[in-house]
């Protein structure tokens, strides 16, 4: 009966081959330039029958030898030339084509005894358990069979295959142990991993298993969810093994001229050798034990051929001890075919180097080193209008910039341009050719930094060819890439087609990515010097008109008519020049702390003039303030980028003129301030002593739910932290607001008052896991303290500031927390990366539909309204809609 099934399967495959051939014929008629697209109607998954394997094989493998004395592949060996060729010069004996043209052909070996396929043991086990050991019928009474079948079909129609499988599983687990067909008593069948089946602790041979599976009628297969035309159960026990073509296991020739075979070839060699020995022993009538042993060995080899990482089996190794990489390992996991070769993509026309800053290039430009620009190319098609132009590139050749590296003939043949071939190429060139010319200013490139967690991690920039060996980017775009210049590397891709370039420019160019879809504010803003500069300019600078014009022109402002016509201009007036004429804005600056705004701090812009307030991080910085957001809304992305660029340049230009430097003296405090800080610290230490006294006396006031010790610790921590904060406030109060260190802290460019206090006054309490430092010796942190000493300095309180210098103990405590936080980040980064991967994979197909619901790929509802409020954050202002403004705009 099985044979008829196999015939059926063959017919099925033959038919599909015929269809394929017909399709090929029709394809040939069509223009090769036109892509043929077809919709896949269905896919059938099945198993190869022994007959099928034999039929598709082009050679039978009988010997484990690979090459003869001359080094040619042996006939009937594993490298048989009928299985394809991997040596140049040889021809495939099956298809007659040469290396690279022949895709390879399967072979087969006849196994001396049947072998269980490891990847199917679980199915075989369930099958054996649910069929009768005598008659191989499924252990369900005849009268119920039809009902069950109908039920299953119903379930599948209603809820899908997944539900059907569930029901099948349930049915299987509820089977009786007496066959309802022939009344035979069933035995308990267990699996001894990986491939041995036991029936009542007696071993079932694969021959017996195969015999039982063969007897299962087709109708019963259907209940198990097996389509017998393409997957008869007995095919899970191998009698014939397909040998993969040599092209998928090529050998490598080492420098010494020695050949090194692929892991698969090694494994197959083992299989063939043992198989031959088994054959010989059987025909020689060897004792059963020897045959059994060989059989087991063959089973092991075949099993490891499919999967070499099965828990119960010893891994098959090379002579060097390194494990063989067999079929399953080729596909599985990160280094496998799927994640490494299919999901992971490698491209040409890309570059990667270290990055460095260049504030003088535009925000949407990228500085490309000349040597890179001479290797990356852009294809340009020759036509009669640009022929002269492109000829010049070819003339300059690959060594003179801007030249060309290749020409491509209309028939697709690629030719390298060299000094020798230059003349010929020039002669040959005519419309229809493609010239691959060097990268030039203004070309489109996609710039990227890993990890690409964002859509802003990949943006389109315009090329600017520069000397040097690093990729250059404007420091303002560091934030979306999360880049800094401590050795970061970034990637550059050059789109090769007109469509790709258009897509990159329209969808990914830097200005299109200004407003973050996460919080609706600009991701690009001024940083560092640009903030300090604008802060100084708008806070206290004024200058002669000539100087102001100097600065403005250096920034690229050509129309300075907005600058008031007077001899001496104010910094605010200079800043206003770069703002659009009709821009109105009102917002807080960083100096308006805690709602106490005043004339000086609150930013008001009226008709494009900065009337009051200072520009600082709150309004110029990335991720903060609505000024940039409002400019973007009013004037669009391109204008915003231009304005932002001007503001940025203005800031740095001001610092060029004004000078900007810091020194230790910036953190000097007047003597009375120093005394006050010392007083605060002394007071804190005294308070702690008092607390300890109370603790010792047993009069310490307890905190709710805490023991005496815990209360003491918490109280001490509180007192010390308060002292540090108070010291910080004193520093803030007494520090000279004109010094540049303070300017940086005030404007938000870099650093804060806490950092300042740590330099000028005290570093403060070092905390390890939210507590004071307690580790070290028994009862004390370091051997220079007395046991049981609870005082601040014995538990990591650093009284000195960085400027004064730390005592050895203090320095040690600082190192403890420093090392701890370093370890912490080192552990956290990979963890959060994996978490992100899981989230991204789980949510990648969620989409907001036109009715504002969020749905997955199967159209199941996840949210009834996107974000519950239905707001498109990238069109909002910091995640909110300004209703008042919308109404006012409507009124006008």
């Amino acid at each position: 009966m099985a044979t008829t099934k196999e015939e059926k399967a063959e017919k099925l495959i033959e038919r599909s081959e015929k269809v394929l051939k017909e399709e090929k014929k029709t394809e040939r008629i069509e223009d090769p330039e036109i892509y043929v697209t077809r919709q896949v109607k269905s896919i059938v998954f099945g198993m190869f029958s022994p007959k099928m394997i034999k039929k598709m094989a082009s050679a039978k493998i009988v010997t484990p030898e690979l090459y003869d004395k001359e080094g040619y592949p042996v006939d009937g060996g594993l490298m048989d030339t009928r299985l394809g060729v991997i040596d140049p010069g040889l021809r495939c004996r099956t298809c007659g084509s040469k290396l690279k043209e022949c895709i390879g052909h399967f072979g087969y070996i006849e196994l001396a005894r049947p072998i269980i396929h490891v990847k199917f043991v679980n199915i075989v086990l369930t099958l054996l358990r649910s069929i009768c050991r005598d008659c191989s019928r499924i252990l369900i009474p005849k009268n119920k069979l039809a009902d069950l079948k109908r039920d299953l079909d119903e379930v599948e129609r209603k809820e899908g295959v997944e539900a059907r499988r569930k029901v099948v599983k349930e049915v299987i687990s509820n089977l009786k142990n007496i066959c309802p067909h022939c009344k035979a008593k069933q035995q308990k069948i267990t699996l001894e991993k990986p491939t041995t089946f036991l029936e009542n602790d007696k071993r079932l041979s694969p021959i017996e298993i195969r015999a039982r599976l063969e007897k299962i009628p087709d109708e019963d297969c259907e209940i198990f969810g097996i389509r017998s035309e393409v997957a008869r159960p007995e095919w899970m026990v191998l009698t014939i093994l397909a040998i993969p073509p040599v092209t998928m296991r090529p050998s490598i020739t080492l420098e010494s001229g020695e050949r090194s075979e692929d892991d698969l070839t090694h494994k197959l060699g083992d299989i063939v050798r043992i198989n031959q020995r088994l054959f010989e022993n059987i025909s020689a009538g060897a004792p059963e034990i020897i045959i059994e042993d060989l059989w087991d060995l063959l089973q092991y080899h075949v099993t490891t051929f499919f999967d070499n990482s099965i828990a119960q089996l010893p891994v098959a190794r090379h002579r060097s001890g390194q494990p063989l990489k067999t079929l399953t390992e080729r596909i599985k996991s990160k280094e496998g075919r799927i994640r490494h070769n299919l999901a992971g993509k490698r491209t040409n026309f890309c570059a990667r180097t270290v990055i460095s800053p260049d504030p003088k290039i535009k925000l949407n430009e990228v500085g490309v080193p000349l040597i890179v620009a001479m290797n990356l190319t852009v294809p340009e098609r020759v036509n009669e209008w640009n022929m002269q132009h492109l000829k010049q590139f070819v003339e300059r050749g690959p060594t003179k910039y801007p030249g060309a590296n290749y020409i491509i003939r209309p028939d697709g043949k690629k030719k390298k341009i060299t000094e020798e071939t230059k003349e010929a190429a020039l002669e040959e060139l005519q419309p229809g050719f493609i010239v691959e010319r060097h990268l030039m200013d203004g070309d489109v490139a996609v710039f990227n930094r890993q990890p690409s967690l964002h859509r802003m991690s990949m943006m389109c920039h315009y090329v600017k060819v520069l000397p040097g060996k690093t990729l250059r980017l404007n420091p303002a775009v560091c934030h979306p890439y999360n880049a800094d210049f401590d050795g970061d590397e970034m990637n550059l891709h050059i789109p090769q087609t007109e469509e790709a370039r258009a897509e990159a420019e329209i969808l990914m160019v830097v200005q299109t990515q200004l407003i973050s879809p996460r919080y609706g504010l600009s991701v690009i803003g001024c940083i560092q010097d640009a903030i300090s500069g604008n802060f100084l300019l708008t806070r206290d600078l004024s200058m002669p008109r000539e100087e102001a014009l100097d600065i403005l022109f250096s920034v690229g402002v050509e129309d300075a008519s907005k600058l008031p016509r007077k001899q001496h201009v104010d910094g605010k007036e200079v800043f206003s020049v770069v703002l659009p004429d009709d821009f109105n804005f009102s917002g807080h600056s960083r100096l308006c702390k805690g709602g106490q705004c005043n004339e000086k701090t609150h930013v008001v812009i009226k008709d494009g003039k900065l009337i009051s307030g200072v520009m600082d991080k709150a309004n110029l910085g990335e991720e903060s303030g609505l000024m940039l957001r409002n400019i973007h809304k009013q004037y669009g992305a391109d204008a915003t980028l231009e304005i932002l660029e001007k503001i940025f340049q203005l800031g740095t230009a001001v610092l060029f003129k004004h000078g900007f430097t810091v020194g230790i003296a910036d953190t000097d405090l007047p003597t009375n301030a120093q005394e006050k800080i010392a007083e605060v610290l002394n007071k804190a230490e005294q308070d702690v002593q008092d607390l300890i006294m109370q603790f010792r006396a047993g009069t310490l006031e307890l905190l709710p739910g805490r023991t005496v010790e815990e209360s003491l610790e918490l109280r001490i921590l509180e007192v010390l932290n308060k002292a540090r904060n108070r010291a910080g406030n004193l520093v803030e109060e007494y520090s000279d607001k004109k010094t540049h260190t303070i300017v940086m802290a005030l404007s938000g460019a870099r650093g804060n008052y806490l950092n300042l206090a740590q330099m000028a006054a005290t570093v403060g309490q070092q905390a390890l896991r939210g507590r004071r430092i307690e580790k070290g010796y028994q009862g004390r942190t370091l051997s220079c303290f007395k046991k049981g000493d609870l005082s601040p300095d014995a538990h990591g309180f650093i009284r000195s500031g960085f400027k004064k210098g730390l005592s050895p103990q203090e320095f040690f405590f600082g190192s403890i927390t420093g090392r701890d936080s370093l370890m912490d980040t080192a552990f956290r980064t990979p963890k959060s990366g994996y978490l992100y991967r899981r989230l991204a994979n789980a949510m990648q197909d969620l989409k907001v539909e036109y009715d504002l619901t969020v749905r997955d790929a199967t159209k199941k509802i996840i949210q009834f309204r996107y974000g519950e409020d239905g707001i498109d954050v990238s069109r909002s202002q910091g995640g909110k809609l300004n209703v008042g403004e919308i109404i006012n705009n409507m009124k006008e």
Binding site: D851, T858, K859, K860, I861, F864, G867, E868, G870, I871
Partner: protein, 80 residues
């Protein structure tokens, strides 16, 4: 009998209500869906124990949302 903890009294558990057949039909029509496309909730979920709902009923959940104040959410009762 031991007194059971009533989750519906907990401040973090939003209000669950049974949806009438009419309202259910309206809901399905509004989003052009069948019950299969709705988010699910188990019949024995402690938050809907007191509602005495059966499989394929729809439950309305009134939640407090940080972005939009009060928000309605619907779940279809299933048995897993």
């Amino acid at each position: 009998m031991k007194k059971k903890f009533d989750v519906t009294k907990h401040q973090l558990v939003p209000k669950h209500l049974k949806v009438s057949e009419k309202e259910k039909a309206e809901l399905l029509k509004r989003y052009n869906i069948t019950v299969k496309e709705l988010p699910k909730i188990l019949v024995d979920d402690s938050a809907i124990e007191h509602l005495e709902v059966k499989v394929d009923d729809v439950v309305k959940i009134i939640r407090q949302s940080p972005t939009a104040g009060e928000v309605l959410f619907y779940r279809c009762v299933t048995n897993g």
